[in-house]
């Protein structure tokens, strides 16, 4: 049962007051998610930050969650909308379990459900302000896909959201290959996350890496990456060009 305060302002396309009921802009946001397929399944990385505009307000937000037995969902964008999606998926998984027929929702099915939800909300001009990454393994087959807030949906061997699109994907295109080991996969994701740390204003140095295999989902403890600042040029960049930066 959902509780919404009943206010009828009429048609929200023509009436400005009715707009107060639809999402206009995001408030607390998560930044990039980066994910790759590897030998045993899928690896996904995200930082634990919730930004409030340019303030790094929350530093312990888990943006990757297990869905059922076979899927892992990562989200960037508005955190409250992500939490709402988790509620929808809870209901989906519950209903699936109630059939008690030995079947369980696989990643393909969850991805399809999310695509329908996101696209239909977009059509009503009331989007869930997220870009979602859905990874999973069922019956030996790995799956990795993405859905955006306007309903664009696709699968690939490696995906990234937000700034990751610009900074992580070129690295992945160069260095990803099939059958990566767990160690190589983690190192590749950490390489991407470090670049994002340097160059994305909303990134924080506290991340988690999650893996999903046939056995299930494990999300690592939060940890920080070392960063490098000892380039000679960084020491005194304006020597000889006073006033520059």
């Amino acid at each position: 049962m959902t509780f919404t305060i009943p206010i009828d302002n009429g048609d929200s396309v023509k009436n400005a007051e009715a707009d107060s009921q639809r999402t206009l802009y995001p408030y607390v946001t998560g930044t990039s998610i980066v994910a790759i397929k590897y030998k045993d399944g899928v690896l996904m990385a995200s930082d634990m930050g919730g930004s409030y505009g340019s303030t790094l307000r929350y530093k312990n937000i888990e943006r990757m969650k297990a869905i059922g037995k076979h899927s892992l969902l990562g989200a960037s964008g508005e955190i409250s909308d992500f939490q709402e999606i988790l509620r929808y998926l809870d209901e989906l998984v519950l209903n699936d379990n109630m059939w008690d027929d030995g079947n369980s929702l696989g990643p393909k099915e969850v991805h399809n459900y999310l695509t329908r939800v996101m696209y239909n909300r977009r059509n009503k001009f009331n989007p869930l302000w997220n870009t979602l990454v859905l990874g999973g393994v069922k019956n030996g087959e790995s799956y990795l896909g993405m859905v955006s807030m306007i309903g664009v949906s696709f699968e690939d061997n490696h995906v990234a959201t937000g700034f990751g699109n610009h900074l992580a994907r070129p690295i992945l295109r160069d260095e990803w290959h099939a059958d990566l080991s767990f160690e190589d996969g983690v190192k590749l994701l950490e390489k991407c996350m470090r670049v994002l740390l340097y160059r994305d204003r909303s990134a924080i140095n506290k991340l988690q890496i999650a893996k999903i295999t046939e056995e299930g989902v494990t999300v690592s403890q939060p940890y920080s990456l070392k960063t490098f600042w000892e380039f000679k040029a960084f020491n005194n960049p304006t020597a000889g060009a006073e006033g520059s930066w």
Partner: protein, 253 residues
């Protein structure tokens, strides 16, 4: 896709600080310059020299603050020369006097007022907040804040830039008169580091410049050498190190 706005003007969303102590001033700043949400330069130098004894911390538009400080450096250079009076008859005495006037360092107050003139007269166009700090033999260490609009305010300490919002409470509690040089520098590094922890527009390394009667010292504190704050963790080389070092079940659901 979010609007990354990579064509946004370069802006030093910033944290800048200037603090007087018993004997001089300490200026501090972060090192992040951003274009929209992209960090265009992660190791910028926002503390700029005007004369040998006066420096300025720059915030706001990178271009505006650069051009203002370039003009002021030029005027101050001329001012230093103007203060010498060309000799006519009494060559030796006047020569000595000219040398004395030519080598007379500019006061901090003069520098601040020159900046004020440019900032105030161009207030509709300039978007830069500055903190001027230096040492001269008449007044010792002085800090002047010059926010948007061109107001000049002499202060025992000044904070500026987007990151300064997070420091007002901190300074209200932590500032005290007559600190030593070490205490003042530690305060500045701690403050910039706290602002970096919360302001997305600030980051990178902490640069400080200490100015006193003995001269100028520049220091550099990279991000990984700073103290850890709430919910920040000790940096590691990789998750693999944690997994290999720890016991049986480090990856928990």
């Amino acid at each position: 896709m979010m609007d990354l706005n990579l064509d946004a003007p370069h802006s030093m969303g910033t944290t800048i600080i200037g603090v007087t102590y018993n004997g001089g001033v300490v200026l501090g700043a972060d090192s992040r310059t951003s274009t929209g949400m992209y960090v265009a330069n992660r190791a910028s130098d926002k503390i700029t020299q005007l004369t040998s004894n006066v420096y300025v911390c720059r915030s706001g538009s990178a271009a505006d603050s650069q051009v203002v400080s370039d003009y002021v450096r030029y005027f101050l250079h001329q001012h230093t020369i103007h203060l010498g009076q060309p000799a006519t008859v009494k060559v030796s005495a006047n020569l000595i006097r000219m040398l004395a006037y030519n080598n007379k360092p500019a006061t901090v107050k003069v520098s601040a007022n020159l900046i004020r003139m440019l900032a105030y007269n161009n207030k509709n166009m300039l978007q830069t907040g500055l903190i001027v700090g230096g040492w001269d033999k008449y007044e010792g260490g002085k800090i002047y804040g010059i926010p948007l609009g061109g107001t000049v305010v002499e202060q025992p300490f000044a904070i500026g830039g987007s990151g300064s919002s997070y420091l007002y409470g901190f300074f209200d509690q932590a500032w005290k008169e007559n600190m030593t040089k070490e205490e003042a520098e530690q305060l500045v590094v701690k403050a910039v580091s706290l602002a970096i922890a919360r302001d997305g527009a600030s980051g990178g390394v902490v640069r400080t410049v200490i100015i006193n009667s003995e001269g100028v010292t520049r220091n550099f504190y990279p991000g990984d050498k700073l103290q850890l704050w709430h919910e920040e963790l000790e940096p590691q080389n990789s998750l693999l190190d944690i997994l290999n070092a720890a016991g049986p079940e480090p990856m928990a659901i």
